[in-house]
Symmetry: C2
Subunit: 512 residues, 2 copies
């Protein structure tokens, strides 16, 4: 058995049975070995950033890592932005990065670059397999190392892949998630028993159904307000769950949301900071006289900690739950809010919403909060171009659930070739492009940072209108049925039709 065969078999045995791939010459034995291990599903992408974003989406929906197959340093570089997002969301992932054969390495061939240095910036585990006899054990260790989140990068020299002498390695026991000590729960309970205003700030496993219900119980019993991080990796939402606000993105709104808070209790979240620094604005929204308490860190068993806290601090309380409610279908002008209302009115049960709406997301959270239960995936690391790939990964992870991508136009172009993979995999994804013809978030930020010049040249650099992007043509060019909506009614009709038919669709929502 060669190294590639042993590697793939070991990954499958360890539960990694999907690989988002964009292979090159140095990965040809891996590709060939896929025919020997049919349990590994390979999903072809046309760009590595699609592969890494898809692996992120897959991990968020399954809790398990997918593999990626990337072609040397430049291929890994193409995947880097979405690896960054995955790192920030703590998604587990196993990157397999092909490299030159060991004998070829010292020749400094044209594709040679420092893979290990770049991999170190986003990986929690990096190893270069040095021999066919090692590669399977390396792979088993990679999977075990990221059981509680994080990216493992295995650099695979071509000859380690092609040489014989490899053997399958058995899965290693996964380290259990660290549990939170009872004393920590008791301390937090004591804080919440006081009368000072407190916020329970939620992320990671505290925004699952179980986590939210426990948090809701705590809130009902103690009066602590609930709030989630601005961009949690995956949030359970909808009717039957507590109504939990997100910390707003704009610094002033975030500071207002936390004003007066004396105790900020972190559950699966880190203390919030603003996305960017701005002249004359503090770097984070936590009030100066607010004490930060850690119930659980991301990666710890925050769900159990929240349940323990609920039993201790609010044993008899019942969480206040959202009743089923949907906005009315709007008519007329297709504003961002009208788009949000259409989505809220039609969102199907068990939908997976991939949210890269950015500035066009006005009202989106509010108008979907009482919809049937769904999951919401956000842009964890701020590196735009995550939405279309993540939707692919979510659809591969959950083929029986509809995926709705709400996608800013400028961001869509970073990884637009993901649409081809949507079509190829016949993935049940409906992408709604928020088509405002501009980098609207940057137009806002240009004034936001207090930049003096708002002359013609600066403005032109934030405008996508010359020429306009025709997302219907782009989608159709990659095999995805597409249509254009210019009124709220058209969007509703087209969304209904797209949801009624399996497979990918794209709706170009031309916003006013």
């Amino acid at each position: 058995m060669n190294g590639a065969q042993a590697l793939i078999r070991t990954l499958v045995d360890a539960g990694v049975d999907v690989c988002f791939a964009n292979p090159g010459t140095s990965e040809m034995h891996f590709v060939a070995a896929l025919d020997d291990v049919p349990e590994m599903r390979a999903v072809l992408t046309l760009f590595e950033g699609v592969a890494t974003g898809a692996a992120d989406g897959y991990a968020r929906m399954t809790g398990r890592p997918a593999a990626t197959l990337l072609h040397l340093g430049p291929g890994m570089g193409n995947g880097l932005a979405n690896l960054h997002n995955a790192r920030r969301g703590r998604a587990p992932m196993v990157n397999v990065v092909g490299d030159h054969a060991r004998s070829h390495k010292r020749l400094d061939a044209p594709l040679e670059s420092d893979i290990d240095a770049v991999a170190g910036t986003f990986s929690s585990w990096v190893r270069r397999s040095l021999a066919p006899a090692d590669v399977a054990a390396d792979a088993a260790e990679a999977v075990a190392a990221i059981a509680n989140g994080g990216i493992a990068t295995l650099v695979l020299p071509a000859d380690v892949s092609w040489e014989e002498g490899a053997e399958v390695a058995r899965p290693l026991p996964a380290r259990p998630r660290p549990r939170v000590a009872p004393s920590v729960v008791e301390e937090v309970a004591a804080v919440l028993a006081g009368s000072e205003p407190a916020v329970l700030f939620l992320g990671a496993d505290a925004v699952t159904e179980d986590g939210l219900l426990a948090a809701g119980q705590v809130s009902a019993g103690t009066g602590a307000r609930l709030m989630t991080e601005t961009f949690p990796a995956r949030t359970a939402r909808g009717a039957g769950l507590p109504d939990v606000a997100r910390l707003p993105y704009p610094p002033e709104m975030a500071m207002a949301a936390l004003a007066g808070t004396k105790h900020l209790v972190l559950a699966g979240a880190t203390a919030p900071v603003h996305f960017f620094g701005y002249p004359g604005v503090p770097g984070h929204p936590v009030p100066e006289d607010c004490t930060v308490h850690v119930l659980s860190e991301p990666g710890e068993d925050g769900g159990a900690a929240l349940r323990a806290l609920a039993e201790l601090a609010a044993p008899d309380a019942r969480p206040e739950l959202l009743e089923a409610s949907r906005p009315e279908l709007p008519t007329g002008e297709l504003t961002p809010r009208a788009m949000a209302a259409v989505i809220g009115a039609l969102l199907p049960e068990r939908a997976i919403v991939v949210d890269e709406a950015l500035t066009s997301g006005v009202g989106l959270m509010e108008l979907t909060s009482g919809a049937p239960r769904h999951d919401w995936l956000a842009l964890t690391g701020g590196a735009i171009g995550d939405g279309l790939p993540m939707a692919l990964g979510a659809a591969v992870a959950c083929p029986d659930r509809p995926v709705i991508g709400i996608q800013a136009d400028g961001s869509a172009m970073y990884t637009i070739s993901a649409l081809w993979s949507h079509a190829r995999e016949e993935a049940d994804i409906t992408t709604i492009v928020c088509d405002n013809g501009s980098y609207a978030i940057l137009q806002h930020e240009l004034s936001r940072v207090g930049a003096a010049g708002d002359g013609e040249r600066a403005a032109k650099l934030l405008d996508l209108g010359g020429p306009g992007l025709d997302f219907v043509a782009l989608a159709q060019g990659m095999g995805v049925p597409a249509s254009r909506a210019t009124t709220a009614e058209e969007l509703a009709d087209q969304l209904r039709a797209a949801l009624a038919e399996p497979g990918p669709h794209l709706i170009d929502a031309v916003l006013r």
Copy 2:
């Protein structure tokens, strides 16, 4: 004056007056300052890999650096593959990478990542500007540091950009290119005076017009064969220049091309190695009993060294020059060779050819060798997705010259949004997509590496046919007029029409 204003003014004063940009929030003051320094031309791209590839193409055609403007670590990551190509081709370039404000850095905001570590893998000069008072001097140093090729990366914290207190810095004197010592020229002349078979192996400035004419003179006088690197950054070609073969890409062909060579004299080139290692194949094509001599390294003044060598070794010889000749226009089936013949028949004078044809490039060099004088830009680093961006940069550099991109279909998808910038800049670029519906090079490589499995699953991972990519729709969706050619006659008609009309065009050449 704030840091951004001083930075841009300093760059312009140092001769850097084009910036390929994909800005984000942290670069908003740079964007605003563009209105204060109108001499800086900003070219918007929708993806950072387009910006870096364009800067590479610009540098190849002008010999001068362009700037890029990239958004933090993930933006730089998106640009990494084409930064790799630029590094391999020794293109000068100044990256400006925006980063968090200094006060925000320690907060580990979502977009935080290790910019400096990644920049170090492709840059020959890296600096993080620490204060507004430093940034202009840093910029002047960046430009001077890469006068002879290489990438300078300047990390620009947002507050260094927005704070007042900066002053413009004067350009630093550029280090002259190192000259080759006369003794080196004499040693090489002595080798070539012998009777053993020699090859003059050319790259960098040895494949300019002057370099090639001097090399041709040496060849005519000494019998040394001429050969260029497989993928030189820029080669002068066409009637009136010596006929110089490229070292072939496939290992066996490369070894055959150098078989029997006893002396390999490097002029602006490094000793050749195969792109990849293969089982049972040596890593490079240089025969074991061949001595390698260095006339000039890339970055040295190889043109002067070649002229000195010509005067010393072949003072009375005259180079053998290609006569003007074009293939006849083919008819019927549109094979790769027919495509090459159409291009050879119609290539306009002073064209810039951007070659990312890969497997579809069969016969391309041969059938264009006697065409009117033109420049040929190749994929220096092997990171695919360079062609469309590089064409943009070449067109911005040389607005009075037609640019012809010969573009493999699979590779085109990595940076397809470059077409939008072609349209926005009204760049005179005709892109011919070699549409064979597959990663043909990988199908070849799969058999080439001796991989056992050629089953269905491996094959599917190299096939772009399900669904087919409609490049006409993709181009039109980004504002580029496009057509489809399925016969040699159609390609000829469409290429003629595209060349007759200024601005961008795309022809989808459906190859048999």
